[in-house]
Amino acid sequence: MFAVKRIATELARPMANATAAALRPTAQIGARRAYHEKVIDHYERPRNVGSLPKTDTDVGTGLVGAPACGDVMKLQIRVDPTSNKISDVKFKTFGCGSAIASSSYLTELVRGMTLEDAGKIRNTQIAKELCLPPVKLHCSMLAEDAIKSAIRDYQNKNPGRKPTLGPDA
């Protein structure tokens, strides 16, 4: 538990400045539980970092986090109104390596998906892909919350086009 926390502290930094210098040695200490290589990969080379214009009507923004810790995750999707598919996606996360990796992987996952499919993503899918240990499952839950929140925001902005497919259509 303590070892995990210590490594988490090493990894914890705002992602835009993510330099991996301090990461490798820590992650390689054999006796300690380290992050899985997939987490490290996303942490070192986060995909789709940035932001989309929040006020665009075809952009949905999800903002979730645990404010007491200063952890916060912003996920934005641009939706093609004709196909109802996610045409672009950006994120920015302040948090530990698992939180950054969860949101980074999520952006890869949802790009090109319909809103209906993206809304069905479960945190277990993210946790499994990144091999997150139990103490880090809440990071994947945050990512699930983020995409749901972004979809909801888009639907609130575009009430007319809400459901085009699926049981609610």
Partner: protein, 225 residues
């Protein structure tokens, strides 16, 4: 899942653990250590909290019966006086119990001195844990709070010089003062939900305070918690 506040919080929580674990649940029986104190007095309910360790400074006990704000100078004087009599070096007759009360006093004193730790202690005693890491989503805190956290994190990250940091420090200190004032109102009105939200923000602001204190040009800033 962590940024700047981590080690800070770990240190604080480790130090507070014996107290926070037990807390002051009004209905549960007092712990062995606390009973040592309540036996010397005849007012049962308040004696189950750490407030009863300092009867001179905190005669009316915790909120809502007493105020949230504390005269920390008076508290310090009473603490030092009590420490003189409970210090293990001076208690040869019964070393075990005096050690317990001495460390209990220490940790009670540091909890009461800090508005954040005091608020967390009071909420914990009422069954509310503000440290839960998975507290996420809008229903827990609200979008404006998340936006505030996000923007603050970005401003720290983008700050380029000592002057910008100084501006952020001043703003953050002002926020802390305001949060503590609002906490006082919330606790005195026994509005626990408001107190919980304010305590979450106070913890964030304390983390920001530490991050800004540790800031150096070129050095990467992170919220450790």
């Amino acid at each position: 899942m962590r940024t700047l506040l981590h080690s800070l919080r770990q240190v604080a929580s480790r130090r507070q653990q014996p107290l926070l674990r037990k807390g002051p649940p009004p209905s549960s029986p007092s712990s062995t250590t606390l009973r040592h104190y309540s036996d010397t007095s005849s007012q049962p309910p308040k004696n189950r909290t750490i407030y009863s360790l300092f009867p001179q400074t905190l005669p009316s006990g915790p909120p809502p019966s007493g105020p949230f704000s504390i005269d920390t100078r008076a508290l310090r004087q009473e603490f030092l006086k009590l420490q003189q009599t409970s210090h293990p070096d001076l208690q040869h007759s019964n070393p075990t119990s005096s050690t317990a009360s001495s460390s209990l006093l220490n940790s009670a004193y540091s909890t009461l001195c800090s508005p954040l730790l005091r608020a967390e202690y009071l909420l914990h005693g009422r069954g509310i844990d503000v440290k839960a890491e998975d507290a996420s989503g809008e229903e827990e805190v609200g979008q404006e709070v998340l936006l505030e956290v996000f923007e603050m994190q970005e401003r720290i990250e983008e700050a380029e010089g000592e002057e910008e940091i100084e501006v952020l420090r001043e703003q953050n200190e002002a926020e802390i003062v305001e949060l503590v004032e609002r906490l006082e109102v919330a606790f005195e009105g026994d509005d626990l939900e408001a107190a919980r939200r304010l305590t979450v923000m106070l913890r964030f602001r304390e983390g920001v305070r530490q991050a800004l204190k540790d800031w150096e040009p070129g050095k990467e800033v992170r919220l450790v918690h």
